[in-house]
Symmetry: none
Subunit: 416 residues, 2 copies
């Protein structure tokens, strides 16, 4: 089962934004066994859109289009598709009411442009967009399915998950594919590959292993395409159970688990609370916990002590230690962790202090040097970490390393 993806927008063509939608769509379709074989990007022009859609329909039975559905006049995807499929635009009442309410609740005038968002080609099946004003559209034409989605990534992603993927599975009567993902952290891809090579060699032919690296974790996915679901699932269970033993501390969890999520689960299970003290990570570490619903069950708060004064006055770090060892030091990291644990009244605390870059490095403490500390009811420990030279990557990596340090502490201790 093959698919094409068309992304529409001058801003993508000229490189003002990077197209991440295509990769998201390809991944989501890949999970149900649909393979993307052609991807094209065209500008906001009717002829370009028509020619791309025609070509895609010749190539594959499923075509996913994103972009060009905004309310302004440079967005012409909808009118172009209506023309192509010989259909007039009609008002879709549920969308009209939803957009009206959305505008009202956000204090935005419900004007002609917004009302236009509720117009859809008569032949299209409307896919309700709960997160924006542009509805998705599903067209059946000449035995092909053409789906048009808004280009805003989170709107597109929700529509894919809630509407498109389930309909595609049903419409094309897809064979089931079993995918399972294991989350690991702490071993680089090449080292992990070496460590698990004998296990990988022993996998049956029909189980395919993929490495999915990212700055926050390294995921390992097993996929079975040719085998009954129960057989595949039992085999994957067995193989992953072996791998858990091989990976030991590097094993974090399964599926959508994250390093922060594993910490959250352990804290909630123990009825324990967490606070953070952040210097170089500047709020990013805390936001990794608070990004997930339910964080208030264990997360009590943080102090971002960017200046030395805040380290000293709010967290109680000793000024003499900053003078003697520098703000990026074991002593300061440990006192930050202990300080925020006390100030916020938490059971556990994490602290980071480092040189995020691009400036501020020295020969003994180059850019990327980060001290991370974990304070527990039993005491405090710290370790040195190197997050790399690029500021954004450094902040992301050292946040993850700090969370993982707490994960290992929690894994090795049984209770509060």
């Amino acid at each position: 089962m093959n698919c094409s993806i068309i992304t529409i927008g001058d801003e993508i063509l000229i490189g003002q934004i990077v197209d991440t939608n295509s990769a998201t769509i390809a991944q989501m379709l890949g999970e149900v066994g649909v393979r993307v074989v052609w991807r094209v990007t065209v500008g906001d022009g009717a002829e370009q859109i028509r020619s791309a859609v025609s070509e895609a329909m010749e190539r594959t039975p499923l075509v996913i289009i994103t972009g060009g559905l905004g309310p302004t006049k440079d967005d012409i995807t909808k009118t172009t598709l209506a023309e192509m499929f010989g259909s007039r635009l009609v008002r879709h009442e549920p969308t009209y009411r939803a957009v009206e309410q959305m505008m009202r609740s956000r204090g935005i005038e419900f004007n002609e442009l917004n009302q236009g968002q509720a117009l859809v080609p008569e032949c299209a099946e409307v896919l309700t967009n709960r997160n924006g004003t542009a509805p998705g559209m599903w067209f059946n034409s000449e035995g092909r399915v053409v789906v048009s989605l808004p280009g805003v990534p989170f709107e597109m992603e929700a529509l894919m998950r809630e509407e498109v993927v389930p309909r595609v599975k049903e419409h094309f009567a897809l064979r089931s594919v079993v995918h399972r993902t294991m989350i690991t952290f702490g071993l680089a891809e090449s080292m992990l590959a070496e460590r698990i090579a004998p296990w990988e060699e022993a996998l049956p032919e029909w189980l395919h292993l993929a490495y999915l690296p990212s700055p926050r974790q390294l995921r390992l996915r097993l996929s079975a395409y040719e085998v009954a679901a129960e057989v595949a699932e039992a085999e994957i269970d067995r193989r992953f159970a072996e791998l858990e033993v091989i990976l030991a501390d590097y094993f974090v969890g399964y599926g959508e688990q994250t390093v922060a999520g594993a910490v959250a689960e352990m804290l909630v299970a123990r009825g324990a609370t967490l606070a953070c003290a952040e210097s170089c990570t500047g709020g990013a570490l805390s936001s990794r916990f608070t990004a997930e619903a339910g964080a208030s069950a264990y997360f009590v708060g943080s102090v971002v002590s960017y200046s030395n004064d805040v380290k000293i006055n709010v967290l109680g770090v000793r000024a003499e230690d900053i003078a003697a060892h520098g703000a990026v030091s074991r002593e300061v990291a440990e006192q930050m962790a202990e300080g925020v644990r006390r100030v916020c009244g938490a059971d556990y605390a994490i602290a980071t202090t480092g040189i995020a870059g691009p400036d501020g490095g020295t020969p003994t403490k180059p850019v990327g040097t980060v001290w991370i500390a974990v304070a527990t009811p039993e005491g405090v420990t710290a370790q040195l970490y190197h997050g790399g030279k690029l500021r954004s990557v450094n902040i992301e990596r050292s946040s993850t390393a700090a969370i993982n340090m707490l994960r290992l502490v929690l894994t090795k201790s049984s209770g509060l």
Copy 2:
């Protein structure tokens, strides 16, 4: 002057990696007046590559290809192009010697696969790759130029800058293109479009306006393709100057400016400092400032007061006010801002307290309700904001709204 981009690789098609090369190439070409009008991604198959290259050559006089030049057998771009252009592969001596030396210095065996990197189609002009083993190639065929580059981003980028762009400018005797971007915030796309409609109508035909929305800002881009650069720039200056007046407070800046960047510039110019108190944004607000280098010039710190205890004990919020008005209220937001300003010793402070969702909403305070407050040396103000129902979007939007509230306060006051 138009161009096509072809990216080659199964890993891009299936979404395992995001294609950033296309955007990089389009930006670099855009700066010299080459407009990308077609972009396609195909897998590592000879027939797919051939058909994409033929189609691109029909569409545009310049075709840039990236990827598929590695040493392993799934990389077939070079042999496919050699066949297409009726040319045999010959050894390129300078590349052979360079690859040999590169391998030796990195302690890697100079084997048959690596030696193959020095083979190039006889008809191609070689573009020296100083950062890797795969040379770039420049083909002239039937009045078209086809350029093949490695897919590794930093190798591709160096080749574009050092070899491709200078040759393209000379070969096609290029006219220049002018793009300029204005950053706005606070008006939704549809309302902004309505407000600037008369201005937009009056633009000369050769100036093209594009709306580039994102959760953090709405960008407006003017592009001039047909006119001498000085004329275009003068006209854009004049039109954008008019627009600044029309947009008033909604105007943030130009180019790569952001709402947070505008605040940072104003604070640094006044020698003033900033602290944040975050509840629902949970660290994300602070990270918007600390993500940029140089934040320590004005940003002193934050308190993420997720629990009521931290609000009361660290920030000095009155427990009676939490009991009377709830943690999501004007009173608490204002006391958080005042509290963190005092605790961190900052000149200005921002605070957020809201219901990030998905749970915790009530009929009077639904999910998405956020109170934001700004404290200054003169006093404190707060306003109610609605960030929407999706947790991640809500956090992002309310962070931006809070930063923008401070931007407006700073714009309206002249000094500390």
